[in-house]
Amino acid sequence: MSLLTKASLVMTPNAIKESKVYSIIPSSGNGDFTFTRGTLASSTLNNDAGLIETVPYNLVTYSQDYTNAAWGKVNSSITANSTQSPNGTNTASSLIENTVNNVHYLQRASAVFFNANADYTFSIYAKPNGRNWIALQITGFGSVYFNISTGTIGTVSVAAITPSIQSVGNGWYRCSMKTNITVDNANLQVFLAIGDTIGSYTGDGVSGVFLWGAQFVQGSSPKDYFFTTDRLNVPRLNYDTVGGCPSLLLEPQRINILTYSEQLDNIAGWTGTAINITANSIISPSGVQNADKIIPNTTNYFHYLSKNMITVTNGIQYSFSIFAKAAGYNYLLINTTTGTSSGIAGPLIDLSNGTVIGTYGGNNYSAKVTVFPDNWYRIDLLLTTNAILLSLDFNVFPTSTIATFSGNGSSGIYLWGAQLEAGAYPTSYIPTVASTVTRNGDVSNKSGISDLIGQTEGTIYIEYAPLTLSIIAGSNIISIKSTDNTNSVTLFLDVYADFPHFTIAIFKNSVGNYYSPFVSIPNLNFRKLAFVYKSNSISLFENGIRTYNNNATGIIFPFSSNFANLFLADVNPQGAKIKNVQIYKTALSDTECAALTTL
């Protein structure tokens, strides 16, 4: 019999929506985790497209709530929940014309374009409700008429638009238009029409269409529909291997203090010395043509782009990262005036193969290179500041040993996505423009599940990988707590004795005891962990082996208050990737725990 039949809660992060990570067990939804971040975020390397994209990819807020003030109704009205939508729920709205002789439309004003000069696709599901025609329009970029009774495409206003219409059943069609957007702001509009190109007419006050599932995405396909409200609390699924299982990415709060992180030609943010900069020269790791080219000029000198005099906190660690790609020259020196050295002091990276080949000045700041598609590399380094100001230079070298030279005026290096964040390791990319920008920490938990948690004994299982081993003390991984937080059982990462290791903390009436195998964690690999608690016993299993067991009489259960809440990485979060969480209301046997945690 599978151990899963004993589990009271199982969460594998395969299915998500805004503010929620679905659990497999229980199937009632009572075990679904809540998720909050409060800001947008970027995907990491291994999303399904291999691109750095905004999460969620649907850039439209309130994608099926057209009563929201974000959607304007012009000579028309919206009635929510009017009929069954394509997904079978009663969530489709009706757009009804009024009686004026004019255009009648739904409008999403000032739609969010994060990158101009890129392909975008606008789509919406539509079904006749007295009117058989609609037109989609992106203001300034053209329109397309659709017959949603016959499923045919009508007039397309400009050749740059690629329209499509697809039947999805029950009279519904998904209408879409793709075009290249060259500005950073435009309106998305859905017009009612009484025929091809007849979008202005006298309405009858009762006719219209049903609408559902508006989506606006970067790229040339409409993508699977992703429901949105405010877009701020979408969990991120990370894939470490192609075709593998995703993990829930939980990153701590970080702030990118480099302004104009993509606009390296902006003189408010960057300074060039003996270089020319060609903006938007090539497609960046985001899939958009917005990476800049740094081109040494013909002056016989150093050739570098600088971020001068950044205000930082003295004496702490900062992680710097930037995406780079060879463009005729292969060598990039990243130089900084912080730390114990200055001058030409920093790692030298060979962009022909993504290797750190050495340093100038003797400090490579623990430089690392991560490979991205299309010969892009993300280079990151770790600095410790020794002042409240810091400068960064990006020098172009023609060879690994020549620093001063005359450029040929065309060869150079592509750069994109610079980031400097306080912390011991780099996190996902945070785009900036004129101001520094914070991505809040990811928070996921489940409250009110005392019926799913063992009160007198139990087993907690998690498949988990840390994002760093440079941790601060007491970085929680998973925890069960009473509602008043006075009683808890927590698995956390600790650095007591100066090496990272797992520890279990048991708090009773706010008094804690700690139990650890004191085995150093050697790497950032995924590991399967289970801890078992019961009266006068605590055990920890890791990858099939019992690494800790204590049967001391001081470990007492039950507590006076019920365990009711489950938290992931809630205190001193240092980041985590989580593939699986399971709760058992019983203390599994050693054999069962070994089987559960075997890789």
Binding site: A70, T271, I430, T436, T438, G474, A505, N572
Partner: protein
């Protein structure tokens, strides 16, 4: 969700007020005391000093191992924080309105405009 932009005389004054208002709360774990967010707090961002000019180094000085300031930084008075919270918190005179923010939360500047 509310975003409060705060200005204090210095970091010590700021931390005292943020603790007083339960923006930060003290948390003891494994005999070590740390600060964690209070109930309803989604983010606290320590912006610190705000530089209002562009300081520069003398050209080439960093390549002589002698980085030398050409233009020294000028900081506004005060020590700055941004707080994102579910609840309204009365920060009194420490809450300021800014026209040219030096910091934002990812997506919030845009979303605010869109929802107006």
């Amino acid at each position: 969700m509310k975003i409060s932009k705060l200005k204090y005389a210095d970091k010590e004054t700021a931390m005292a007020d943020l603790l007083l208002k339960n923006v930060y709360v003290k948390h003891t774990f494994n005999d070590e005391e740390t600060l964690i967010y209070g109930e309803g707090i989604h983010a606290v961002v320590e912006i610190g000093l705000i530089c209002i000019n562009q300081p520069t180094l003398e050209i080439g000085s960093i390549y002589n191992n002698q980085p030398t300031l050409e233009i020294a930084p000028i900081f506004t008075d005060g020590y700055h924080y941004d707080v994102m919270s579910e609840q309204d918190i009365d920060f009194g005179d420490n809450e300021v309105v800014v026209n040219n923010p030096k910091h934002s939360f990812l997506g919030h500047n845009v979303i605010t405009v869109l929802n107006e």
